[in-house]
């Protein structure tokens, strides 16, 4: 089973996770920029983070045979902090980078006017840079948040087929699908979606335009949830081809809209020679 995790925050994960993901079939991932738990207080703090997503993290991933791309943006939560909003002015210099495959995560957290401004501005940045957009839907007041998100996308110059609406669930999938956007589902140990509910959604909505991610980060989460969904799909009677569509071809098609996906990597066996993450070849 080949797996592309279209949303995972590897900065918060260990090399053990990379190894386990490779063993489970993960060969590619996208790391969206997001909130780090601790609020940032200056744009420079974002720039160091963006540099890490463009430098050190792809290097770590490559050592485990996994292709790493990223999406960059000012996240919705910190879009409310005036100390952080100058990040919007600097984003164009980052969005030209080779491994940036979308603008994201953008969207709503608390649905404030500042979030409205940041979302609209960053949808336009996606248009300007020929990139699709990864749009997070809020955890609180989700259905209202989805509707407002879809409205802002509709008012933007970014066509819905270049938008991935993420963190969907049973209550939001229908309206999200009707918008014409791609549909993302985050599978978590106890919040968001779980693998059995995911299979039920796939049964009722089909596999087209559906992406499944672990969204693993510094909270309680599991980087192998993509694999669990593949296993649950097979157990429920879906074919290998269905699994490949959801776990590989759909994310490749969506992020491929950027024209910047590069999925060829040497095997990790070749890379482990001289691996600095192994700290001097112990």
């Amino acid at each position: 089973m080949r797996i592309f995790d279209p949303h995972i925050h590897m900065t918060s994960r260990t090399t053990d996770d990379y190894q386990a993901m490779y063993d489970a079939g993960v060969r590619a991932l996208v790391e969206p920029s997001f909130w780090l738990g601790q609020p940032r207080t200056a744009p420079a703090s974002f720039f160091d983070y963006f540099d890490s997503l463009l430098g050190w993290e792809p290097f770590r991933a490559a050592q485990y045979g996994i292709a790493h791309h990223c999406t960059l943006a000012l996240n919705p939560k910190e879009a409310n902090d005036p100390r952080c909003t100058p990040v919007l002015d600097a984003l164009p210099r980052y969005l030209v980078k080779d491994s940036v495959v979308a603008v994201g995560e953008i969207g709503y957290d608390s649905m404030t006017p500042a979030e409205d401004t940041a979302l609209a501005a960053q949808l336009q940045l996606a248009v300007d840079h020929g990139l699709p957009a990864l749009v997070h839907t809020p955890h609180r007041d989700k259905l209202a948040g989805l509707r407002r998100t879809v409205d802002v996308v509709r008012e933007s110059h970014l066509p819905p087929e270049r938008v991935l609406l993420d963190h969907l669930n049973e209550t939001t999938v229908k309206e999200a699908a009707d918008s014409g956007a791609w549909l993302g589902f985050s599978i978590y140990p106890d919040t968001k979606m779980d693998e059995d509910r995911m299979v039920a959604v796939l049964r009722s909505h089909g596999t087209e335009r559906v992406l499944v991610n672990s969204a693993a980060d510094w909270g309680r989460s599991d980087p192998l949830k993509t694999r669990r969904v593949g296993d649950a799909m097979l157990a429920a009677g879906f074919t290998d081809d269905d699994v490949d569509q959801v776990l590989w071809r759909n994310p490749v098609a969506f992020y491929g809209l950027s024209g910047r996906l590069h999925l060829d990597l040497p095997s990790p066996a070749a890379l482990h020679e001289g691996n600095s993450v192994l700290r001097g070849g112990e």
Binding site: D51, L54, G55, W56, P58, F59, D89, A90, P92, R93, V96, K97, D98, S99, V252, A253, Y255, G256, L257, G259, R260, L261, H262, L263, D264, E273, G274, N275, S276, V277, R279, G280, G281, E282
Partner: protein
């Protein structure tokens, strides 16, 4: 549309050739008349090409294309420093590779020192080139050699290694101590260490 951009062979494909032609023209124009920066966040068009070279020419050609752009634009130390600081790991690597051709003096050493502080072997390998061989002071140079041994960067990557290692008794001591530490831990001593150690020995003692 295709999801990936891959070169089937070692030559630039036709679209990449055309892209490079335009990019070099923009870089040459910048060399003739450097554009006035309008904002800290706005880049000259050839600098945007520098960033995008990987996807337009293929990752295998990126080092070559980026260093060619830097030389064509005759990038000065200020420009190189900005491109390094704003660059991805791949872009930083290209800046380091271009230093010997563009900076005759030691003023770009902070970029080399920055790269040597990382653990990214792509940057380390680019940092220990001819520019470091010419300008890096002895203490930093010895640590760079040792770091290559630590991280598995082949010492053949270190430019001018035989000349700088010769008669370097301090480097020899550091190598022996490192070998002792590895042996005490029950770990193998990298073959490259013995090769460098042999280079430190003055000819009359060998």
């Amino acid at each position: 549309m295709t999801a990936t951009r891959e070169d089937p062979d070692d030559h630039l494909h036709e679209a990449a050739e055309a892209w490079l032609h335009d990019a070099l023209a923009e870089a040459a124009q910048a060399a003739a008349a450097p554009p006035e920066p309008t904002s800290p966040y706005v880049s000259a068009s050839w600098e945007l090409r520098f960033a995008a070279a990987g996807r337009h020419c293929g990752p295998r050609h990126a080092d070559f294309v980026r260093t060619l752009l830097l030389r064509t634009a005759r990038a000065d130390p200020d420009t190189l420093t900005r491109l390094y600081r704003h660059g991805t790991a791949a872009e930083r690597r290209a800046v380091l590779l271009a230093l010997p051709a563009l900076v005759p003096g030691p003023e770009a050493l902070p970029l080399v020192e920055d790269a040597l502080r990382t653990h990214d072997t792509r940057l380390l390998a680019a940092a220990v080139g001819p520019y470091a061989a010419t300008h890096l002071p002895p203490h930093a140079w010895r640590h760079a050699v040792l770091k290559c041994l630590f991280t598995g960067v082949p010492v053949d990557t270190v430019a001018d290694l035989p000349r700088r290692a010769r008669h370097d008794t301090e480097l020899a001591r550091m190598l022996r101590d490192h070998a002792d530490e590895r042996t005490a831990a029950g770990r193998p001593v990298p073959a490259d260490l013995h090769r460098v150690l042999a280079l430190t020995v003055p000819p009359e003692e060998s």
